[in-house]
């Protein structure tokens, strides 16, 4: 614990603007989704759009302030620890968010689908769904008229396997980049970070290809029963996190081109790397439990 004084920032306009943007986003999204489902039009999308604009403004402005404070030498080692702990707990909260969806997947596989199919302690339920058989992946749902099951599934040993290789390699490349940064090899750093971003974009590209394939040819959609629901929610939220992570890495690259970060002081880069490892680990879980098993 340090005895030097801890940096307490001046008044800042960013928090209140950021709150406004979240308020606009929440209200706009609510209006947009309701209008979408009711089939009407509304001003929701404009409010939503305004929310995003304000959010981008905040992100730029707030980070700009933080970066200049950091470069201005206002931060102590203790401040650095606050950032690190904050980032780690944030990643923990993300882990718990995914845990909710993984939990749902395990629940339906272990309990609800078997019960509906007449297996296990609540198998008597099958009375309501005559002819339904429990299988996983669930190709025929209990009520195919309402939820038509997928015709085919994504083959784990093609695109998903390739994507696994891509993401795991990207975890390696970013680690190499990090070491290069700590040793002061700027060129090497730039190269390996750029490689990481290329791998990330390749991953996202193949993920999009897979989704298009699923919707157009496999009949695997959000509406195709619980398999489709868990598949798209898990891979979709993961893909969203990869997208965010890629943007973060790209910003890091720009800052590095700008001459930012020193071998000793580069918390933002480290946080980005942690985040990247996190999305990587989630993917491994997805690959095993969603695609393979």
């Amino acid at each position: 614990m340090s005895t030097s004084s801890y940096y307490v920032p001046e008044q800042s306009r960013w928090p209140i603007i950021a709150s406004l943007s979240l308020g606009l986003l929440a209200y706009g999204a609510g209006m947009t989704f309701n209008a979408m489902s009711a089939g009407g039009s509304s001003i929701g999308p404009y409010i939503l759009g305004a929310g995003f604009l304000v959010l981008f403004y905040v992100i730029f402005g707030w980070f700009r302030d933080v970066i200049s404070e950091s470069q201005g030498g206002l931060y102590s080692e203790q401040m650095d620890r606050s950032f690190r702990q904050g980032m780690l707990w944030f990643i923990f909260s993300e882990v718990m968010f995914f845990a909710a969806f993984f939990g749902a997947l395990f629940y339906v596989r272990t309990f609800s689908v078997p019960w509906l199919g007449g297996e296990g302690e609540k198998g008597v339920t099958n009375m309501l769904w005559e002819g339904f058989q429990a299988t996983w992946p669930l190709m025929v749902t209990p009520d195919p008229a309402q939820f038509e099951g997928p015709k085919e599934l994504v083959d784990p040993w093609h695109l998903p396997l390739l994507n696994t290789v891509l993401l795991i390699s990207s975890s390696v490349t970013i680690t190499i980049a990090h070491h290069a940064l700590k040793e002061g090899h700027r060129k090497k750093l730039e190269l390996w970070l750029a490689a990481t971003i290329v791998l990330a974009i390749a991953f996202l590209y193949f993920q999009v290809v897979e989704y298009i394939e699923a919707y157009t040819h496999l009949g695997l959609t959000l509406q195709s029963g619980i398999y489709g629901a868990t598949f798209f929610m898990l891979t979709g939220f993961h893909g969203f996190h990869v997208t965010l992570g890629t943007i973060i890495l790209f910003v890091m690259l720009l800052r590095i081109f700008d001459g930012d970060f020193t071998p000793k002081q580069h918390f933002a880069f480290e946080a980005a790397a942690w985040y990247w490892h996190f999305v990587d680990v989630v993917w491994v879980g997805l690959f095993i439990f969603v695609y393979v098993l």
Partner: protein
């Protein structure tokens, strides 16, 4: 202190189950409900003893160790022995409670070897009872009149706990309930049986009861299921075997009579007259007694596109419902006569004047 009041209250509790100042659980009329009651009392008294002990020491301190009486604060702030003791003893008490509780729970879950199987289905806001071994299938709606609820008439003693068609079961037989729901989650509860099971749409939960004492037992839905959650009572009539058999025979005769009635022809006025009763009993809960609906939640009948459009569409939606909404498939619930009548009523009353009507024989095809 308040705990002591509760103890006093409990000992004063009369034996009459319906006493206005009832403060305790009903002992109930089944072996399980008795076991549950005994467990409840056991745990209650354990809690009372713990409460009296803890609060006794606390109030002793409050009274004796106050500064105004010149008390000087002692300096102790830990005592390992005491701390271990008050960790271990509660743990042992808990084990003592857990063992009998587990036994009772296992009995509750043993639904094997039932004599009668009844499927209980929760609907917004009524119960449906299907006797799986007999061809008996009926709905049970609350029969308390609106006037009593809106304080325009005096309330009868069974206010909100009365239905048009109670569930009837034989005394002394093990009756298994297969509980499910059609729309949202409900919960089927009869306190005197200690049976409470959630009715989950798409899944079946099992429960059972064996009642030796004939009588009428009343309960309610106990899972929030929408607007009229408070108005879907459960009434079970337990009849001696012979009376039960007579009731089964009567039910079958009634269904034959309904089939017969469906083949007759009716005039528009007859249909409207019958339809009004059906509407107020079945439809008014959502679409409002005057047909105005509830804006944003339930559409109005008055001037609606369906009720003033082609009659075939109108019959279709009433008979088959609209999936994904609260509109149920009423062909399961209403006889052909009632269906024809209520459609005719909706088209020609409640501010609508289409002028056409439908006979029950034309309903069969939907």
């Amino acid at each position: 202190m308040t705990k002591a009041l509760l103890a006093l209250g409990l000992s004063l509790a009369g034996s009459s189950a319906m006493a206005d100042w009832q403060v305790n659980l009903n002992r109930g009329v089944t072996e399980i409900s008795n076991a549950v009651f005994d467990l409840h009392m056991l745990i209650f008294w354990i809690c009372v003893v713990i409460g009296v002990g803890v609060f006794g020491v606390m109030f002793y301190s409050i009274f004796m160790h106050r500064k105004s009486k010149g008390a000087q604060a002692a300096h102790f702030h830990e005592n390992t022995t005491v701390e271990v003791v008050w960790t271990v003893i509660p743990f042992l008490i808990l084990i003592g409670m857990a063992i009998p509780a587990t036994g009772t729970l296992m009995d509750m879950y043993d639904t094997s070897e039932a004599d009668v199987d009844i499927q209980v289905t929760g609907y917004q806001w009524k119960w449906r009872y299907q006797y799986l071994d007999e061809d008996i299938d009926f709905f049970s709606n609350m029969s308390t009149p609106r006037e009593e609820i809106y304080n325009e008439a005096g309330k009868n003693p069974n206010y909100l706990l009365e239905v048009d068609n109670p569930l009837v079961i034989p005394a002394g037989k093990k009756v298994r309930f297969l509980i499910t729901a059609n729309d949202v989650i409900h919960s089927w509860w009869v306190p005197h049986f200690a049976v409470k099971k959630d009715a989950i749409p798409g899944f079946i939960n099992e429960s059972w009861v064996r009642v030796d004492e004939p009588g009428v037992y009343r309960g309610q839905c106990t899972e929030l299921c929408g607007k009229d959650h408070g108005f879907m009572p459960v009434v079970v009539e337990v009849k001696p075997q012979a009376e039960y058999e007579a009731w089964v025979a009567a039910q079958k005769a009634k269904q034959a009579a309904l089939a017969d009635a469906a083949s007759q022809s009716y005039s528009i006025d007859e249909l409207i007259a019958t339809g009004e009763g059906v509407y107020q009993r079945v439809c008014a809960a959502c679409h409002a007694p005057n047909g105005g609906g509830v804006p944003g939640a339930f559409p109005a009948i008055t001037g609606s596109a369906i009720a003033t459009g082609p009659i075939a569409d109108h019959i279709n939606i009433v008979a088959n419902g609209k999936s994904g909404t609260a509109m149920q498939a009423f062909k399961e619930q209403l006889s052909a006569v009632d269906l024809a009548a209520v459609v005719t009523y909706q088209r020609n009353r409640l501010g609508n004047a289409v002028g056409d009507f439908v006979n029950p024989s034309d309903i069969q095809n939907y």
